[in-house]
Symmetry: C2
């Protein structure tokens, strides 16, 4: 296979070059020979949905995911209602942009609220409420379990097992899961859980766990190969499920963000070809 | 009950006042009206084991635990051998000091080694090898599952469920678990796992999960009440198992370490009485 073919499933999540606007991100992805991009709502909103839709259409890129809905763990009814409305808008945007899935980041504990079980229960209730609207729009919701480092302030769903316990309450066409190496690499029994997830895997996102962890935990992700994650083993387990979608590189890291976009794309493509792509067809 | 009685199960883990030497830590614990202390090997070694033993005896304090053995995830045989010898020494010290348990911190991934499954398997093998020596000395080994934030560099055992899968290979008098709120507060199904642990709970350690997480993740623990953990619910679940041992406050935090020892003891005693102690007898 030639190199361009080998990149056919690699997707640039926009946050990996967070300083790029939508036009720059599209241009960087195309210049690197990629076929897909993972979008974020904020840079899409910055140009307007109509314009974004036209730009994506013209680019020929697939949209591997839209980030992000969710953040529906608020306890106050008014906050929950606001989150619900925002998620409906995100569903509409996902449909318009033709994205494969809407990524749902659960949200953390409300201020001064320590009831984790209740926050987790609100995630289930919020998804249940969203499903009919998502289905109307042909959108599959992707629940993202997050590393426990974020359990308090960002994502109360902490393991793939826990995310699947929720997703399995719904049809696979309605609710699936986002599998991100940074969040899940440490999970005991992860291979079995990936097997259990099967067709519910809506997106495979990759970045590395680096130590020492950067001071700002929100910017703690590393380039594949710079950290401790065994991408070969993890990727083989994902591939064994039959997952045939895109592989998104999503890296929140101040050093990566400081680099020229093309340099980031070059590095991530190289690392993908070295560490991930060889293991996609191992089954 | 009078206040001193209500403190009867509160223990000062030495690391909570890391700048104190053994004499100062003992004095601080006694001045605060505590009955027990959790020791660390380094400050014990600083005065010598004979002297430490005499000081503890004279103080009348119980030793709720000795920190720490473990760190036996090395891949190189020579490193593993060194770890084994060190753990044998730790077992001898535990027996001499009359500590209730030796805390085992598993250790992380070896440098440039990404095989997490193999590292976890080495934990099992290392414990298996230590058990006869521990039994000879009347010491119960306490395996400590650690927050996944430390999975790469400190503790490859990440959940209470995973620690119990290991501990249950052995007799309860040989191997149990350390339950630390900072490490386990987020674990899905933690109440069921605590129930499963039952008599295997050798130590209940408390500190809070605070956000934003301090830049140095090794010093990221907070005083109870300063963070997101529901100590009432967690403590009730521990109490429901019949756990009747000490409750150790173990806080690694630069701000706490900068305070006068007596201030730290006063605050931790107050928070314990407010947040933890009322839930110890709720069953």
């Amino acid at each position: 296979m030639t190199a361009p073919d080998r990149l056919s499933r690699l997707s640039l999540n926009q946050r990996t070059i967070a300083n790029a606007d939508l036009a720059e991100a599209i241009a960087a992805a195309r210049a690197a020979g990629l076929s897909s991009i993972g979008l974020w709502r904020e840079p899409v909103a910055a140009v307007g949905l109509d314009q974004a839709e036209a730009m994506i259409k013209e680019s020929g890129l697939r949209v591997s995911s839209l980030c992000r809905g969710g953040f529906f763990t608020a306890a106050a009814p008014a906050d929950l209602e606001r989150a619900h409305r925002d998620n409906r808008a995100a569903i509409e945007e996902t449909a318009r942009l033709g994205a494969a899935t809407l990524v749902l980041v659960p949200g953390g504990l409300p201020a001064d609220d320590r009831d984790l079980a209740a926050a987790r229960a609100r995630v289930v209730a919020a998804i249940e409420r969203l499903v009919p609207y998502a289905r109307e729009h042909g959108v599959t919701l992707g629940l993202e379990p997050m590393n426990p480092i974020y359990a308090a302030d960002r994502g109360v769903i902490s393991t793939l097992a826990q995310a699947l316990d929720i997703a399995e309450r719904f049809e696979p066409t309605d609710v699936g899961v986002i599998v991100d190496t940074f969040h899940l690499w440490w999970e005991p029994g992860i291979e079995a859980q990936l097997g259990r997830a099967g067709e519910r895997i809506l997106s495979y996102q990759i970045s590395d766990w680096i130590t020492p962890l950067p001071p700002d935990t929100l910017l703690a992700r590393g380039m594949m190969g710079d950290g401790h994650i065994d991408f070969a083993a993890f990727t083989r387990a994902v591939a064994a499920t039959g997952y045939a979608g895109d592989i998104e590189v999503e890296i929140f890291n101040a050093d990566v963000w400081a680099q020229p976009f093309d340099d980031v794309l070059r590095t991530m493509s190289e690392r993908y070809l070295e560490l991930v792509e060889p293991h996609l067809s191992s089954t």
